[in-house]
Subunit: 210 residues, 4 copies
DNA sequence: GATGAATGAGCGTTCATTCAT
DNA sequence: AATGAATGAACGCTCATTCAT
């Protein structure tokens, strides 16, 4: 019977929602399992039927939220991506990053929660449902594949871009230092283009860079 | 008589040493004040004569360790820096970063401890005793000042470089992914040079970039 | 099934019993929650499931013990009270006080515990279960209402009587000074009658006092 | 050398002053020896040269403050007492009580501190320097001796009066219940006169009471 | 499957007291 | 006589986890 399955899924969702609320409000360290269970309107013991401990639900949430952010970005940009010609692919990466930075700016608590806890290991394995279960890195990869330029060491390149954007945004958005988000964004875009140039390799007679 | 003062300083050092050991072994969250005091061979109450709480000793350690790293780097490079001509200044920055990356590679636990807890706010205010109490950022700044090129928004530029190096090293050194340190280092140097080009402004008749 | 409820009630009773024992033995200030829990044969944490802190259980006990004393007095005197004619009402008050003084004499530790901690605020709000949830003050009030005499400012009058009896008994019973209980009792009765005369007001043609 | 003696006395006074300030501000239980020593501008260890522990200084202060109150009352009333004829002696007792109630009303913190801790044992042994080292009870006694009436069981009578006044004032002044101080005072005076009548014995042909 | 009472180790912190200086 | 660093037991309290119902 799928009814039972549905009920279980709803309970798990309720726990995740409550945990996210509390984690973003005051951090995982200051949130207790009791609080999560109480907020999700169930008994403390029930929590342990769905998650091994606090750290499991935390990791689950990090993945989920990162997933949501990429999903949202991809949906909003899908129209653009579809019409994109090979020469504009680098612009596509920039749009994607801008979209994500904007999401972070609007939800700084989410940024705080994710950034403090996200590692490349989690990130590079995250699957996005909307997109044939591609992982986050594959999204970048997929975009780049359609470029007229070719890139060497694509994973390293994406890794460097993601880490740069993530860590600078964290400080700028949450500590309002050393500059404003808009200023950072402008420079980041420029630097990201630079990084892409750095990793681009010559592929045809038209002749290319670095 | 300075005997008492000496003894107090030694006690404080002992606490800092023990705390560093335990924090790097298992993180501040999993370390208790009791453990620190026990490891430093004194009573729990004595801890509170020297530090307000666990967070104060943690912050003190972050500053201290970052301080040590920059001090070491600066000492090792001082000979080079002194002979440096204006055109080689960008190389100086690269040497500094390489030195720091090497220190991190040799002491990954220190990297874990510092990176997880260091914010730009702490970093940009850290004073280095050896160097006329300059702060860490001033060290970069001082090097750049001697360059034949001029840079706009120096703080933002340094911020981006530091964050990029710090966050990528964290993942690469601690999670061994997605590439080896040496490979990352090679690319980082290239990217950092790119960032410096990005922020450089034309200053003389020879005409320059961006 | 009331089984769980019963068990909880028993645990709470056990805590109250242990706390009373320890509080009367050495006072609330010198009793720790650990001790109470240990004496009641349960874990320290369990205490906190039933009481917010030491002060809550203390206040609960003061109310409980005062309640018991009044309940006992009222039971023992109920036969007398029922047959009482209006002219004997003042004798009823005296019997009540004598009964309470006797209870204190037999349980000096209870007197020590209650008197040191009972304020008029607590006292005048205490509800006695046996007696239609009347509070302690209402018991006096109810008795006085049946008197052929009328009293002005009944609450103040009762307050003065209660405080006088309570504070003099405290010293006499616990410090055996300056006189013996029996001697005090004799005089107290006389003084209490005097206070009632002081607050009595003329109500009919027979003409009365103050 | 009296110089050393003076210095010691001053230190002791400083400790007493600091302790009184802190005890009345937040109660003895919430005041630590460290705080008292720090407030008195000396080292923690020095405290123990003057007082055995916190409880000794507390008891010393209770005696001191009660002493001061009686001293003040006696000074203010000495003119009246000297002119008093035997028939007015009972009025003298009333003036004394009124004066003390007024002092309490003006310094409720002192009342809180003293009442919670004063026992008849301490009270009846307190010596007042101004008055040939008479104790507090002797002051009452001395006044009563000059009365034209004679009293039996003077100590018990004084004890009852003191306890009644002390305990009712405590509640009324500190908890503002159940009535205002002025109202209580009016009734207390009446009750105290009643108690004096109760203990008065016939002494001459005019024939008197009880 | 769901509950929530019970646990008890462990937390950070306080503080009376000692004692070498 | 005076100091204040050091002690360490004890405090109130939290909370992840277990388990009988």
């Amino acid at each position: 019977m799928g009814k039972v399955e549905d009920k279980k899924k709803m309970k798990k969702e309720a726990l995740l929602d409550s945990a996210l609320k509390l984690f973003t409000e005051k951090g995982p360290a200051e949130t207790s399992v009791s609080e999560i269970a109480k907020d999700a309107q169930m008994a403390k013991g029930t929590f342990y039927l769905y998650f091994k401990d606090k750290y499991e639900i935390r990791d689950c949430l990090i993945a989920r939220q990162t997933h949501f952010i990429f999903q949202k970005a991809h949906r909003e940009l899908s129209a653009i991506f579809e019409k994109m010609v090979p020469d504009q692919v680098e612009d596509g990466i920039v749009y994607l990053l801008e979209n994500i930075i904007d999401q972070f700016t609007e939800n700084p608590e989410i940024l705080r929660f994710i950034s403090k806890n996200l590692s490349w290991g989690i990130f590079s394995n995250l699957r996005i449902q909307d997109l044939d279960n591609q992982n986050c890195m594959d999204i970048f990869d997929g975009i780049l594949e359609r470029s007229s330029r070719k890139y060497r060491q694509r994973e390293l390149m994406i890794f460097m871009i993601v880490e740069l954007v993530n860590s600078t945004c964290y400080n700028v958005i949450l500590n309002h230092a050393p500059v404003a988000v808009q200023e950072l964004k402008k420079e980041l875009i420029c630097t990201v283009r630079g990084i892409m140039d750095q990793f681009a390799v010559a592929i045809d007679d038209t002749g290319v860079n670095v």
